[in-house]
């Protein structure tokens, strides 16, 4: 009887423990106005391979193999465009656009999957926090390799095409798009 009463009272108090962070209607930490035109999206795959065998006093190894997909977005930051970058002469227009930048890397939680895990007899499996640390390392590697994927070049080509088509619909017949070589592309935060 005592066990039954304990069980029921514990169940009744459990919702009080199930806190889900901020209350409804809580404000966001920061809100920023921006002016970015995303013109290309790359979806990339990466294998996350790690072997935990370097700590000398831990008996036995642990190995893990995970897969992850990341979405990289790049485009043009329009906030730097001023009237000096636009030149109109009748139906002719020349537009100087800033260089393309990498805007975001998105690794969705559902795109990280554990493919294989091998744990020695004397070791415990990888915890969620450890798996998260490994995925964070993969995120850094993807960011460092972004330039070599050619995403910025494709972003500039697409931006040029989009702006040209848009201006054509606006009635311009001779459209020239240039990229500002002097201004460096801004880096991802």
């Amino acid at each position: 009887m005592f066990r039954f009463v304990t069980f029921i009272s514990a169940l009744l108090t459990m919702p009080a423990c199930n806190t889900t962070g901020k209350q409804e209607g809580a404000e966001v930490l920061a809100l920023k106005e921006m002016n970015e035109l995303v013109t290309v999206e790359y979806v990339v795959n990466k294998i996350i391979k790690a072997n935990d065998n370097t700590t000398w006093y831990k008996a036995g190894d642990r190995k893990i193999l995970m897969t992850c997909a990341a979405t990289l977005k790049a485009g043009i930051d329009f906030s730097g465009i001023t009237p000096e970058h636009i030149s109109v002469n009748g139906k002719n227009i020349t537009l100087m656009l800033p260089r393309a930048s990498l805007f975001s890397i998105n690794i969705r939680p559902e795109d990280i999957k554990v493919a294989y895990e091998e744990v020695g007899v004397f070791r415990s499996g990888f915890t969620a926090a450890e798996r998260e640390t490994l995925a964070a390392q993969a995120e850094v590697q993807i960011y460092q390799s972004a330039d070599s994927l050619g995403i910025l070049r494709v972003a500039e080509t697409n931006a040029s095409l989009f702006v040209s088509n848009f201006l054509k619909k606006m009635g311009y017949s001779q459209i020239t798009i240039r990229f500002d070589e002097g201004r460096p592309a801004h880096k991802l935060d």
Partner: protein
């Protein structure tokens, strides 16, 4: 003979002093704490494979940054064998056992206008006047990357799928909070303003930009 012994002692003490200085100042040798410190697990540098390249035209106008907490609790009744065994999970003495995970997620939600959805009939020009109808703003991205996620508390064994569900819950909470801040309305008015300025800038004198339903 006695003098020789004296010099040897001084010499040995000087050597010990020099070694100690090198160890402490130059950190030539690892400290005891470092010897027993677990080495971090480092992933291999594997290649990145491009799976898809998509052409987009998304005008991102509002970015919100937020921090949310999501958790999950699982409680199950103990079987007979488990009731007899000692329980260290915090439910000791009770007829049930449980596990819990708490995740702190930081991320950003981006809202804006998908310019690819502009149809030819949405643009009307006549002389120096232009009318443009923009598609409604939408959430274009909700980013909560692994580096932005902190597993604050993890009690019991959690499968990768269960942890993913908690992280998705955190991301959805972040989106819900951004929507409560009227990000879509703000993105709509910001897109209108930006396009109006752009159209004035390229030579139109009368500009009307509206956002669709």
């Amino acid at each position: 003979m006695r003098g020789m012994w004296k010099y040897s002692v001084v010499f040995v003490l000087a050597v010990i002093l020099v070694v100690l200085l090198l160890v402490l100042k130059k950190q030539w040798m690892p400290s005891i704490g470092n010897v027993f410190k677990a080495q971090p697990v480092v992933i291999d540098d594997t290649p990145i494979l491009v799976r898809e390249i998509n052409e987009l035209a998304q005008l991102c106008t509002i970015d919100t940054y937020n921090e949310v907490v999501a958790d999950s609790v699982v409680i199950v009744k103990k079987n007979v064998a488990e009731s007899l065994l000692p329980d260290l999970s915090g439910f000791s003495g009770l007829p049930f056992k449980g596990k819990r995970i708490v995740v702190i997620g930081r991320g950003r939600v981006t809202a804006g206008t998908d310019m690819k959805k502009i149809r030819p009939e949405d643009i009307v020009t006549q002389g120096d006047s232009v009318f443009l109808r923009l598609p409604s703003a939408e959430i274009l991205d909700a980013i909560m990357n692994p580096a932005d996620v902190e597993v604050f508390s993890e009690q019991g064994d959690w499968s990768p799928e269960a942890v993913t569900a908690v992280k998705v819950k955190a991301r959805n909470l972040m989106i819900a909070q951004a929507l409560q801040q009227q990000v879509l309305e703000r993105a709509n008015s910001r897109s209108r303003l930006l396009l109006e300025n752009f159209l004035f800038g390229i030579g139109y004198n009368r500009v009307h930009v509206e956002t669709g339903e």
